[in-house]
C-alpha cells in the first residue's frame, strides 16, 4: 500500500486554508477572497478524503492508514491516527458537510465573514482529528477542542439568546467530558497504553468497567444527546446560525454515537450488557417523549432539534442491541440523519434568509410561491420520517429488526416513534407548504438560487442512494463492526 500520510494531511489542510484567510486583509461582510480560499480548501479536503474509501481494504477489520507521532518522550504516549470501517464514513461525512456549508455560505453576507469561515475550517480540522484519533489522549484533545470553534459560532453569529445558548452548550459538554478524561487517564494507568486497538486486548474487572462506563456515558450521552441530557440541544440549535446547526446536527451529535461504539461497546462490553436495559429505557423515552414535544413546537428549528433527539434514540437502541443489524442500523441512521437533518436545517436556513422568521405559524401555502423548494423539502421530510426508499428507512428498519430480536416490547414502543415522527414532520410540511397562501407573502420572493439547488440536489441524491443501496456504506463498515460483535459477550437482553 502506498504510504501517503493521508490523515495528517487531511487534518493540516484546513489549517493551511485558515492561514490564507487570516492573511487576506479584507474586512467587509462579503469577504470574497476568504470565501474563495475557504471553498478551495474545503473542496480539496473533501476530494482528498475520497482517497480513504478508494484505498480502503474492506477485508481488514483493523485500523488502516495508521500514522504515529512521538508526543511525550515515551513509547506508550504517542499520537496515533488511523481509520477503520467505523470511523471512515464519519470522516467523509465531515468533509462533505463542511464543503456544502461553505457552498451555502457563498452567496451570503455576515458580520465578520472572515472569522466565520475560519471557524468552520478549524472545526473541520478538529472533526477529522477526532474521528481519526486512535489513541485516548489525542481523541480527547480533538474531542474537546471542537467546543472552541462551536462556542464561537453559536455565540458570535447566533440569534437573540445566543449567549445563553453558547454557555449552555459549552458547559454541558465540558461537564460531561471531564469525567471521561478521568476514565481515560485511569485506562492509561491501568494498562500502560493509550492506543485504542491495544486496549481491546485487555479485560477489566466488572466493577471497574461499570464506573468507567458511566464516565464515558456522561460524555457521550450529553453529546449524542440522550434524554434527559438533551436540554442544551434545542437551545443551541435555535440560536445557532444555519451552518452551525447543520454541523451540530450533522456531525457533532454523531460523535456521541461514535464514542459509544468505540469506547463503551468495544472496551467495556460487560458493563455495556449490564447497562443495556438502562439505555433501552432512556432511548425509548427519548423516542416517544421528544416526539410528542416536537409535535407542539412553534419554531421550525426547535422541531427538527427535538426530532434529532428522537432519531438519536434509535441510534442508541441500535448500538446497544449489540448485534450486527443493530450496529449497521445505527451507522446508517447516523449517516442518514447527518444528511437529512443537515438538509432540513439548510432548508430552514433558506426560508429564514427569505422571510427572516422560523415561526411555523407565519408560513402557509408556500408551494405556490416556491415550487422547486417545496419539492426538495418534501423529499427531506419523507426521508426524516423514514419512508422506504430513503436513507431514513434503512436505519430505522435495521435498528427495529435488531431490537426486536432482543426485546419485543422495546421494539414495539420504538415503532410508535416512527408513527409520531410521521405526524410531526407531515404536520410541519402541511402547515408551511400546503393550504392557502398566507398573506405574509405579498413581496416577490425568488425560488431557490443556484447555490441552494446544488446543495439540495446533492443531498437528495445521497438520501436516495443510501436508501436504495445501503451496502454502499455498509460494505466498508461490516468487517470492523463484525469484529466488535465477535468480541462482545453474549447477552440475555
Amino acid at each position: 500500500m502506498i504510504s501517503l500520510p493521508i490523515l495528517p494531511i487531511l487534518i493540516i489542510l484546513p489549517l493551511i486554508g485558515l492561514i490564507f484567510i487570516f492573511l487576506s486583509s479584507e474586512d467587509d461582510e462579503h469577504a470574497e477572497q476568504s470565501k474563495k480560499s475557504a471553498l478551495w480548501t474545503s473542496a480539496s479536503t473533501f476530494f482528498l478524503s475520497l482517497y480513504l474509501p478508494i484505498n480502503f481494504d474492506k477485508s481488514i477489520p483493523h485500523f488502516q492508514f495508521v500514522n504515529t507521532f512521538a508526543w511525550f518522550n515515551n513509547d506508550t504516549l504517542r499520537f496515533s491516527l488511523g481509520v477503520d470501517g467505523l470511523s471512515m464514513p464519519f470522516i467523509l461525512l465531515s468533509t462533505f458537510l463542511i464543503l456544502i456549508c461553505i457552498i451555502f455560505i457563498l452567496p451570503q453576507s455576515k458580520k465578520n465573514m472572515k472569522m466565520y469561515l475560519a471557524a468552520f475550517l478549524l472545526l473541520e480540522s478538529f472533526l477529522i482529528g477526532t474521528f481519526s484519533a486512535i489513541d485516548l489522549f489525542s481523541f480527547y484533545i480533538f474531542f474537546e477542542s471542537i467546543l472552541i470553534p462551536m462556542y464561537l459560532i453559536i455565540g458570535f453569529w447566533g440569534g437573540e439568546r445566543r449567549i445563553y445558548s453558547a454557555y449552555k452548550f459549552f458547559l454541558y459538554t465540558l461537564l460531561g467530558s471531564v469525567l471521561m478524561l478521568i476514565a481515560i487517564i485511569f485506562l492509561y494507568q491501568e494498562f500502560g497504553t493509550i492506543s485504542i486497538p491495544k486496549l481491546l486486548d485487555f479485560t477489566l474487572p466488572f466493577y471497574i468497567q461499570v464506573w468507567l462506563w458511566l464516565a464515558f456515558f456522561s460524555s457521550f450521552a450529553v453529546k449524542i444527546p440522550m434524554w434527559p441530557f438533551h436540554t442544551w440541544l434545542p437551545d443551541a440549535h435555535v440560536e445557532a446560525p444555519t451552518e452551525g446547526s447543520v454541523i451540530l446536527a450533522g456531525i457533532l451529535l454523531k460523535l456521541g454515537g461514535y464514542g459509544f461504539i468505540r469506547f463503551n461497546l468495544s472496551i467495556l462490553p460487560d458493563a455495556s450488557i449490564f447497562f443495556t436495559p438502562f439505555i433501552y429505557f432512556l432511548s425509548v423515552v427519548a423516542i416517544i417523549y421528544t416526539s410528542y414535544i416536537a409535535l407542539v413546537q412553534e419554531d421550525m428549528k426547535k422541531l427538527i432539534a427535538y426530532s434529532s433527539v428522537a432519531h438519536m434514540g434509535f441510534v442508541t437502541l441500535g448500538i446497544f442491541s449489540a448485534n450486527i443489524q443493530g450496529l449497521h442500523g445505527a451507522m446508517i441512521q447516523m449517516i442518514s440523519h447527518g444528511i437529512i437533518s443537515a438538509a432540513l436545517f439548510f432548508s430552514i436556513g433558506s426560508l429564514y434568509n427569505r422571510f427572516k422568521t422560523k415561526e411555523i405559524s407565519f408560513f402557509g401555502g408556500l408551494n405556490n410561491k416556491l415550487p422547486k423548494f417545496s419539492v426538495f423539502f418534501l423529499i427531506f421530510t419523507l426521508g426524516s420520517i423514514g419512508l422506504p426508499g430513503t436513507s431514513g428507512f434503512v436505519g430505522e428498519f435495521l435498528t427495529l429488526l435488531a431490537v426486536y430480536s432482543k426485546n419485543t416490547m422495546v421494539a414495539f414502543l420504538a415503532t410508535l416513534g416512527v408513527i409520531l415522527s410521521a405526524s410531526y414532520m407531515l404536520n410541519l410540511y402541511k402547515k408551511v407548504f400546503l393550504g392557502t397562501l398566507s398573506e405574509n407573502f405579498d413581496k416577490k420572493n425568488v425560488d431557490v438560487n443556484i447555490y441552494e439547488i446544488s446543495v439540495y440536489v446533492v443531498l437528495v441524491l445521497l438520501v436516495f442512494i443510501i436508501g436504495i443501496k445501503p451496502s454502499f456504506i455498509l460494505d466498508y463498515t461490516t468487517t470492523s463492526l463484525d469484529r466488535i460483535i465477535q468480541l462482545y459477550p453474549i447477552s440475555i437482553f
Binding site: A70, W71, F72, N73, N74, F137, Y140, I141, F142, E144, S145, L147, I148, Y151, L152, G155, F156, R162, I163, A166, Y167, F170, L171, L174, L175, V178, L179, L181, I182, I185, F186, Y188, Q189
Partner: protein, 475 residues
C-alpha cells in the same frame, strides 16, 4: 562561591540604591534598564551551574538543580515583569527609581528562600521578600486603595511570620536544631512521631499557605490583588508563589518526608478547599484583578494536589504546571496593564465588552490564554492539568481527581464569561487601542506559547524531571 547570583543581586541592588539619587530626570527608566541587565547576568550565573549541587554555609543554604531551576524561572519572570514595567504607560506614582530596586531586593529574598536549608535562613529570606513586597503593594502612596491593600498585606504577612516562628520554635524544642539535615536525621531515628512535631509542622504549613494563598488562608488575596498597582499584582501572582512552592516542596519532601501520611491529609484539605473557593468565589466577581485572585487560588489548589503523593513525578508535574501558570498569568496581566480608557487604567470585566471589534488580534491572543487557563485542550493549561491528574489517578486518589475536574468546569464558566464579554457583547465604550508594540508582541508570544505546547510537552517533562532528581538524591 556557589551562591554568586544572590550575592551579586544583593550587591547590585545596594549599588543601584546609591546610584539612584544622582540620576536626574527619568531616573526610573535608567535604573529599570540596569535592573534588567543585572537580572540577566544573574540568570547567566544560575544557568552556568544548574546541575551543581552543594550544601554551603554550614548547612544554612543548599544549592541544587531543583532550586536553580526555580530560581531561573523566577528570574525569567522578574525580567519579564521589569520589562513590562519599562514599556507600559505607568502612573506617575510608580515612576520612581526605588521601584526597581525594591523589586530586586524582593527577588533576592525569593532566591534565598528557595536555597534555604535551615528554618532560620528560611525565616530570614522570607522576611526579606515579604518586607519588600509590603512596600511594593503600597507603592502608590497617594492612592487610598493601594495603601489599604498594603496594610492588609502587612498585617496578614506579619501574622504569617508569627505563626511560622512559633512552629519553628516548637520544632527546635524537640529536635534541638533548625537545620533541615538535623531534622531529617531526627525524624529517621524516631519510632513514633511526637505530636508536637506535627503541630509545629502544621504551623509552618499554615504560614506557607498564607504565602501561596491556599484556601482557607486566602482571604487577603482578592483585596490585595485589587488594591495593589497592577504591575505589583503581576508580581504577586507569579514570583512569590514559585518561591513559596519551592519552600513548601523542599520542607515537605526533605526533612518531613517521613510523615507524609500526616501532611498528606492536610494538603488534601487545603487543595480541595482552594479549588472550591477558587472556582466558586470568582463566579460573581466584576473586577478582573479580583477574578484573577480567585483564579490563582484555584490554580494553587490544583498544584497542591500534585504534592500530596510526595513523589518525584508529582513534583515534576508541579514544575511543569508552574511554567504554564506563569506564562498564562503574565499574559493576562500584561493585558490588564495595558487596559486603559482615556489614558486611565480600568480593570472591570465590563470594560472588556466588544474588545474583539476594536482589537481583534489582542482579543484573539487573550482568548487563547483564557482558554488555556480554563484547561481546554489543546492549550498549555490542559497539558498541565493532564499531567497533574495523571499523577493523582496513579495514586488512586479518584475522589480528588473528580473534585478537581468538576471545579475546573466551574472555573471554566468564568473564563468563558470573559471570552463572552470579549467576543459577543456589544462594546459600551471602547478601550484605548494598545499602541504599545512591545506589549502586543509579548502578548502574541504568550498566546503562541500556550497554543503550541501541545506539540512538544516532552521537552518540559524531561527538563523538569531532570531537575527534580536532585531533590530526592539528598535523602
Amino acid at each position: 562561591m556557589i551562591i554568586i547570583p544572590e550575592i551579586f543581586l544583593a550587591i547590585c541592588s545596594v549599588v543601584l540604591l546609591f546610584v539612584s539619587p544622582f540620576l536626574k530626570d527619568e531616573g526610573y527608566l535608567k535604573i529599570g534598564v540596569l535592573t534588567l541587565i543585572v537580572i540577566f547576568l544573574a540568570q547567566f550565573f544560575i544557568l552556568k551551574d544548574i546541575f551543581y549541587s552543594q550544601i554551603i554555609f554550614n548547612g544554612f543554604f543548599i544549592v541544587d538543580s531543583f532550586g536553580s531551576f526555580l530560581k531561573s524561572l523566577i528570574l525569567i519572570g522578574a525580567g519579564l515583569i521589569i520589562y513590562f514595567y519599562l514599556t507600559i504607560n505607568n502612573s506617575q506614582s510608580l515612576r520612581r527609581p526605588e521601584f526597581s530596586i525594591i523589586f530586586l531586593i524582593a527577588v533576592v529574598g525569593m532566591l534565598l528562600m528557595i536555597s534555604s536549608n535551615d528554618l532560620l535562613s528560611l525565616f530570614m529570606s522570607m522576611e526579606l521578600q515579604s518586607l519588600s513586597l509590603y512596600i511594593l503593594v503600597s507603592f502608590s502612596r497617594d492612592d487610598f486603595i493601594s495603601s489599604e491593600a498594603g496594610v492588609k498585606y502587612f498585617i496578614i504577612g506579619s501574622l504569617s511570620t508569627c505563626i511560622f516562628l512559633f512552629g519553628t520554635s516548637l520544632i527546635y524544642g524537640l529536635v534541638g536544631s533548625t537545620s533541615f539535615n538535623e531534622i531529617s536525621l531526627f525524624m529517621s531515628e524516631l519510632y513514633s512521631t511526637p505530636t508536637m512535631l506535627i503541630v509545629g509542622l502544621i504551623f509552618i504549613l499554615v504560614s506557607l499557605s498564607l504565602k501561596i494563598s491556599a484556601a482557607p488562608f486566602h482571604m487577603w488575596t482578592p483585596d490585595v490583588y485589587q488594591g495593589a498597582p497592577s504591575i505589583v499584582t503581576t508580581l504577586l501572582s507569579t514570583l512569590p508563589k514559585i518561591a513559596a512552592f519551592g519552600v513548601l516542596i523542599r520542607i515537605l519532601v526533605y526533612p518531613f518526608g517521613e510523615i507524609i501520611v500526616d501532611w498528606g491529609k492536610i494538603l488534601i484539605i487545603l487543595s480541595i478547599t482552594s479549588m472550591l473557593i477558587g472556582s466558586l468565589g470568582a463566579l460573581l466577581q466584576t473586577d478582573l484583578k479580583r477574578l484573577m485572585a480567585y483564579s490563582t487560588i484555584n490554580h494553587v489548589g490544583f498544584i497542591l494536589m500534585a504534592l500530596i503523593p510526595g513523589s518525584e513525578d508529582g513534583i515534576t508535574s508541579i514544575c511543569i504546571y508552574l511554567i504554564f501558570y506563569i506564562t498564562m498569568n503574565l499574559g493576562v496581566f500584561l493585558f490588564i496593564l495595558n487596559m486603559q480608557r482615556d489614558q486611565v487604567n480600568v480593570t472591570s470585566i465590563k470594560d472588556l465588552s466588544g474588545l474583539y471589534r476594536s482589537q481583534p488580534l489582542i482579543a484573539g491572543c487573550l482568548a487563547i490564554i483564557l482558554f488555556s487557563m480554563a484547561g481546554i485542550p489543546p492549550m498549555a493549561g490542559f497539558i498541565g492539568k493532564l499531567i497533574i491528574l495523571n499523577i493523582i489517578i496513579d495514586n488512586n486518589l479518584f475522589y480528588l481527581a473528580i473534585i478537581a475536574v468538576l471545579t475546573s468546569v466551574i472555573a471554566a464558566f468564568y473564563y468563558i464569561r470573559l471570552i463572552k464579554s470579549i467576543f459577543f457583547n456589544e462594546p459600551i465604550e471602547e478601550l484605548d487601542n494598545i499602541n504599545n508594540n512591545n506589549s502586543k508582541y509579548m502578548l502574541c508570544g504568550f498566546a503562541l506559547f500556550n497554543l503550541t505546547v501541545v506539540f512538544y510537552p516532552q521537552f518540559f517533562l524531561n527538563l523538569c524531571a531532570s531537575v527534580t532528581l536532585s531533590l530526592f538524591s539528598v535523602k
